[in-house]
């Protein structure tokens, strides 16, 4: 079947809707057909964004790029991890949310100039105001450097994010009735500024069907201000600046309570999940949980003689690595046996992106039709050939993003197989082997004991890591 510009736009606007109507074949097009389709999509996005996203316009003008005729033409225009945190952090500290909104306005097609944020006294109130007054559902990253990235995605984009789960994890999409009316277990805060929590509204809309079937461990919002305060405080401690580190009175007042809550959180979240295992036993559920928590619950549960907790067509999405514990090689079997599910769904994605790369049963992460992957040389930043197997920095253009420029260079090091068909039957580029941080790969290559009397960023990060580890042990 041929796709013209209108069909492509339709496809990108709602892959779930499109595939429910036209079948799933669209997801497994041959490479040439797929790239032709992607190029049409990329051109459309560029033309839309060039006129309405000032940062992209500036970038394109600087690079002298007027049109896209090959997929590679977008490369000089990809955003970096710095783009969404290029505001001065003093604006956050001084609560100058009018100025922050002005900054954000240059990254989205939506007009934010009319939004009144003059009453905002916190990141939390700023984010909720933007959410209430505009189509945006902005998220922030964890801000481990002391600066949060603010990513102006839209509610519709987050809906597409959830649609990917529906499309892939709940059986033949053409047969489904929406909402699915499936219980969702979310052992964290119902709301918050993280990307994780941003999907919850849409999970209620498409999967749970109502708030009663969405089970969150904490009903409220995880405060972004307190999160950032915690990180800043750690950094100030490492720099010996605690004396000059000032907290706003309202944040200072909530600090102890927040820190106690954070310390209790892992245990509470687990206890909450275990209770729901009993309450929803035998039912079909959807949940997103960290791997380490899943494994701990499963291991304890099996010891207690329980297994096959949920209905086998339940969906468990996991990721986030195994923080704090070493997972045995058969961890997945343990988790599947205890919960009684057929697979643990895992994805590769990032806060700046909507499109997810899904892991297949062979451990490969497959590029979805709406994401154009690139692999860049980690030293030169130049693109590696789109053929054979290539290892380097992962970058992509995410065609699901329609309100801002969707090109992004990640900090992840991947090995991409462009040609071989995967044994799972899926065609197209897929990530093989593990995914690592580029910085870790570079550190390895550089030789460990280059010593400098100057305070390098690595030495600074090491100092922070050391301090964080010491605090964890102490706490």
């Amino acid at each position: 079947m041929d796709m013209g510009e209108a069909e492509v736009a339709d496809f990108l606007d709602g892959p779930l809707h499109f595939c429910r109507k036209n079948g799933l074949d669209w997801l497994t097009l041959g490479r040439a057909d797929l790239e032709r389709l992607q190029l049409i999509g990329l051109r459309q996005r560029f033309e839309q964004c060039r006129e309405s996203v000032p940062v992209l316009k500036r970038l394109a003008d600087n690079q002298g790029i007027r049109e896209i005729s090959r997929l590679e033409d977008a490369l000089p225009l990809l955003y970096t991890s710095q783009t969404y945190k290029s505001y001065p952090s003093a604006l956050v500290d001084q609560h100058r949310f009018d100025q922050l909104t002005k900054w954000l306005d240059k990254l989205t097609m939506h007009d934010l100039s009319k939004v009144d944020v003059s009453g905002c006294q916190s990141i939390d109130s700023w984010m909720t105001t933007i959410k209430r007054e505009t189509p945006l559902l902005m998220i922030h990253t964890s801000g481990t450097s002391g600066t949060m990235s603010f990513v102006p995605s839209t509610k519709r984009e987050w809906e597409k994010f959830v649609e990917q789960f529906v499309l892939w994890l709940f059986g033949d999409p053409a047969e489904l009735t929406l909402p699915l009316d499936v219980d969702c277990i979310y052992p964290y805060y119902r709301d918050g500024g993280w990307s994780h929590a941003a999907a919850n509204d849409c999970l209620v809309k498409l999967v749970a069907g109502n708030e009663e079937r969405f089970h969150a461990a904490y009903p409220g919002r995880l405060s972004s201000d307190l999160l950032l305060m915690g990180i800043r405080h750690q950094i100030a401690t490492a720099k010996g600046e605690v004396s000059t580190f000032r907290l706003s009175p309202e944040v200072a007042a909530r600090r102890e309570e927040f820190e106690a809550q954070q310390r209790a959180m892992p245990d509470n979240a687990r206890a909450f999940f275990e209770t729901l295992c009993d309450e929803l036993s035998g039912r079909r559920v959807f949940t997103q949980v960290t791997t380490s928590m899943l494994f701990k619950i499963a291991q304890e549960g099996l010891k207690g003689g329980k297994q096959g907790i949920f209905s086998p067509d339940s969906v468990i999405v996991s990721g986030g690595g195994a923080k704090g514990i070493a997972l045995p090689p058969d961890w997945e079997e343990t988790v599947k046996t205890f919960f009684g599910v057929r697979e643990i769904a895992m994805f590769f994605g990032m806060s700046e992106m909507i499109a997810l790369y899904r892991r297949c049963e062979h451990g490969h992460y497959h590029a979805p039709a709406w994401s154009i992957p690139y692999v860049l040389d980690i030293e030169s930043g130049k693109p590696l050939p789109r053929e054979g197997r290539q290892s380097g920095r992962f970058a992509c253009y995410d065609l699901l993003i329609d309100s801002r420029w969707g090109g992004f260079i990640s900090g992840d090091y991947v090995t991409m197989d462009w040609e071989t068909s995967c044994a799972c039957g899926r065609t197209g580029p897929h990530i093989v082997d593990g995914i690592r941080r580029v910085a870790d790969v570079q550190k390895e290559g550089a030789g460990e004991d280059k010593i400098s009397c100057a305070l390098t960023p690595d030495a600074y990060e090491d100092a922070l890591d050391f301090l964080n580890a010491a605090e964890t042990l102490g706490g």
Binding site: S86, Y87, K102, W103, T147, T244, G381, D449, C453, F466
Partner: protein, 493 residues
Amino acid sequence: MTKVYNAGVAIRGRWIDDNLGSFGGRSAGVEFRSPDPRVIVGQLPLSTPDALSDLYRLSMDEILDYLERLGERLDLRRNAYLQEALEASCLTSPLTETVQAAAYESLAPIFNREIVSEMIDTSIGLGYLEGWVDRKMFDGRTLSVRAFGSRALHIIAGNGALIAALTVIRNAITRSDAIIKSPSNDPFTALAIARTMIEMAPDHPITRHISVAYWKGGDQAVEEQLYNPRSLEKIVAWGGFASIKHVTRYLQPGLQLISMDPKRSVSIIGPEAFASEAALRDVAIRLATDVGAANQEACASARVVYALSGTDDAGLAKLQHLARETYRELVALPDDVSTPCREMDSELRDCLEATKLSDDWYTVVGGEKDEGAVIVSHLPSPVDFAPRLGKRIANLVPVDSMDEVIAAVDSYTQTVGIYPDSLMYELRDRLPLFGAQRFTSLGYACNPSFSGPWDALEPLREMCRWVILEDCDPAKTPPMWEAGVMFRTTEAA
């Protein structure tokens, strides 16, 4: 393609370069081979502490003679070892060839008799090194003090060739024994100096108290044998967070760490800089030098610059003018002082590009092709990636009042370059409380005196063991066995 260099080890006057292998000394494009450190480590420590006694048969004059002769031989044009070391270090060091060559050229002069004598006088005092210094005390006794040498391991930094030379000089004048652990970013400079010493005077006590080797930092098989009070009394660590962390696990009574922590430096510019075009030009060349010298790889290099320009539009305009002039001087610096960097930090480049797009908040001058840049903050705070500034990228921050420049300083701050000089005297009693360790006239950040304290420490004094002798005559100093009173003056008795 990887280029392979053969590095030997120098152990107490002997040069060993057989059974070479690769022991982790590898960086992008270069690999160096050396004898297996696990095999030679047993030969590194001094057999017994009293083996230092040969150094005490030398007078300081003889030590100065030796250093002067060594300096003459460390002439880059004639010394083949230095030439080879320079060639190899151009592959391992972040510095470019012309800047590195200039650093090698500056090795010989610091061995000059006058300079070394000044180092002795300012840091320790000749008397304490040559013998006992007596002092009559209030209670009648004579207290004599002498600075003895120690057995020390030096974990040196690789971002400046001078560090190796300075270590050799300090070791000689304190009559100490040094084992130098070379860093992988400069594995050859210390070796080349040691080899020159062996060639010049293989049996001289100073030569026989220098060893230089490379092992991979953290190699327990090597470090456990060496890092203990049987073999060493002191460990001198130059920077490198990981290298200092490696060492701390071995610390115990009898083994002391002298840590020169990794540092960074700032500049402070007073309103006088904007008083006239001539003053601004003067500041621009000075600032460009502090940013550009040694390609901004040094701990003393300027990175964030606070300027009392004011934060209103007029203030910003003045600061932008200074940024343009500083950039112009920066790219025009002679290539033995500064060049565009050898290898750009890609994350720093991303930060710079993102900053260019945020033109409401920042003005970026230059930074077109990794040649260096000057960023002007429009708000009175530095860029969020300030810890990453390098590769000749500086950040000018406007402030309205002197109180705000205190933010410039924290516990990682070493040098504060200041304009005009009078401002140094205004700030010198205040900023040290927040961490500052060195004040200098703007333009001299990377051109320090090697005689004084460093990193708020006195490395030369700390390398010594300070031994005292107390001569007490009961007729003058009241004895405890009689009065049972510890502190009583002669008069009172």
